[in-house]
Symmetry: C2
Subunit: 340 residues, 2 copies
């Protein structure tokens, strides 16, 4: 490819954001080329999408991950998965995405293209189309390379009412796979610790996992444990219900290399972000059925029942391998900024 | 108000973005408090909104204006108007908004509150509700204070098909009010020129203006002339149709103080952003009716017929007060970065 953007032909310039010729060319050649679909028209202010019936679900997310590319994904695929996953855990099939890009002056256009291409591939794999977008260019030093914001529109499919209000004492907490992979993979990609591993982010769509259980009786609530990880979801449940959550440490799936890095650096994997997992709360009698449904999927083989809702006052505790029990405090200091 | 965010209680800290307690408190106390509505639930991943019938329109926009507050508005009200206006010119009544905030570490929380409050007031005035949101905190120096991204969902109301493809030779170009006000107001607010005026941004919802003409016969196309201004909309029309656009300089409404500042500093007001105007293309026979409809509204009193579509090859020209005609080139260098 040999596109001339004028002024600077390999890196983003402020003029790529001014509404004029360079912006038009950047949008046409980088964004529209990869994201093209019948509903995306770069000449219109708004996209008109078909909508027959059913409840409309909306979700939105911002992405500031550093570095922009990491083992297992990049900010583009992450943006798709993050927004799709918020809709999936709410019981919706994602249909449409809108995309905002805040691009820093000086970003290499080849890198931007790789990211947009990855975003387009992730969207296609999930079956969503990007129907509207906007780009802004900010001055060198002010934008961390690239920030993305995506909004997803989905159609409600789960028949059950899912929500924190459905949770009851005695319910079980399930997690669909190992925790902490995304957080550790991004941290290692920063190279600031001189550590290297074969670790990759778990960034992926959780839609198949959500669909596998959302029709089952007894499924009360689902959430994707991103910022703050599994422990933070447990705290959200405790705060919303006023009950206690007890997590069972030996049952929580954590990959050995993640555990090793956490031990060396002093991170608690329960607080690290996942980007392709679900935490579900399921009635005790149906928890096994939900677990079996997850384990039948390639991405759910490590799924486990990891905790339960107790009739105690609002708190989150962890039972250790040795049988001890300690409180897990709510996250305050940020262990890993810019993780998603 | 005396909220303790911990760590730093007057300015944003990185921990306000980590998914933990400080983030929850910031969202509850600053965002949810001002934006509260029955559809906004900060405990859910996705908002479920009612949708009965009609075509769904989606639009999205990013905002990076500097300074964050300026005469006539701030980045919060601007974000609402920008997204609402994209829907309005597409013939839709806006219903729902999603909001992304990229907040820079160190931003004064009082300033963030003023902006969110202004955003909430603008949304209420227009009749849209913010149903989903997300916040990210980026390191000091990396975020320009605050970037916002909003996505709007609207229901198509205009019965006519509006679009660049509807434009015909002989059609007239109308503008709903004076041009350049937003661009000049923001530039003066930067104080870098030592100039001061009573200028204010025109930032406002154009929904009443759009509704006043979208049912009229002969209305082909509407656009809000933001980045790149009136001249850039003329170029978009020329490129899409392959025809020439001739603008009539004496007819273009420009306020005297805007003209004065432009003359002193060498800006062309035709390329400066408006944030509360519409450019419409209307069949010649119905142009007067559309003009009358606009002039009957408080925000349309300065509306004018400012140009026409010619059967010449693709170009934009300007007829001056002295009767001369010169070409208006497409914008390349950015006259005023970070204007919206």
């Amino acid at each position: 490819m040999n596109i001339k953007y004028g002024m600077q032909d390999t890196h983003i310039a402020l003029a790529h954001g001014n509404g004029g010729r360079f912006m038009r060319e950047l949008i046409e050649e980088v964004f529209a080329r990869h994201l093209c679909n019948p509903l995306l028209n770069v000449q219109t202010d708004a996209a008109c999408v078909p909508w027959t019936a059913g409840e409309l679900l909306l979700s939105t997310d911002g992405f500031t991950v550093q570095p922009l590319e990491f083992p297992g994904g990049n900010i583009g695929s992450l943006a798709v998965h993050g927004t799709v996953n918020d809709l999936a855990v709410a019981g919706a099939v994602p249909r449409y995405l809108t995309l905002n890009a805040f691009i820093e002056e000086g970003l290499e256009i080849k890198q931007l293209e790789r990211i947009v291409q990855s975003l387009a591939e992730a969207a296609q794999a999930v079956g969503v189309v990007v129907v509207a977008g906007d780009t802004k260019v900010v001055r060198r030093g002010e934008g961390g390379g690239l920030y993305l914001a995506t909004t997803g529109v989905g159609v409600k499919c789960a028949q059950a009412t899912l929500g924190l209000a459905q949770i009851q004492v005695g319910d079980k907490l399930l997690v669909s796979g190992s925790v902490g992979d995304h957080g550790i993979a991004v941290m290692l990609a920063r190279e600031q610790f001189g550590l290297r591993g074969d670790l990759a982010s778990d960034s992926a769509s959780v839609l198949p996992l959500a669909q596998a259980i959302w029709h089952l009786p007894g499924v009360r609530f689902m959430r994707d444990p991103t910022r703050g990880g599994l422990a933070t979801v447990a705290h959200e449940i405790a705060q919303a219900t006023g009950w206690g959550i007890r997590l069972n440490q030996p049952a929580i799936p954590i990959r050995d290399p993640v555990l090793s890095v956490c031990e060396i650096l002093g991170y608690d994997p329960l607080f690290l972000a996942c980007e392709g997992r679900i935490v579900a709360v399921v009635a005790a009698a149906q928890a096994k059925a939900a677990l079996v449904a997850w384990q039948a999927l390639p991405q759910g083989q490590a799924a486990a029942i990891v905790g339960e809702v107790l009739n105690t006052h609002e708190q989150v505790s962890l039972v250790t391998a040795l049988g001890g029990e300690r409180l897990l405090e709510e996250l305050e200091e940020d262990p890993l900024p810019r993780i998603c």
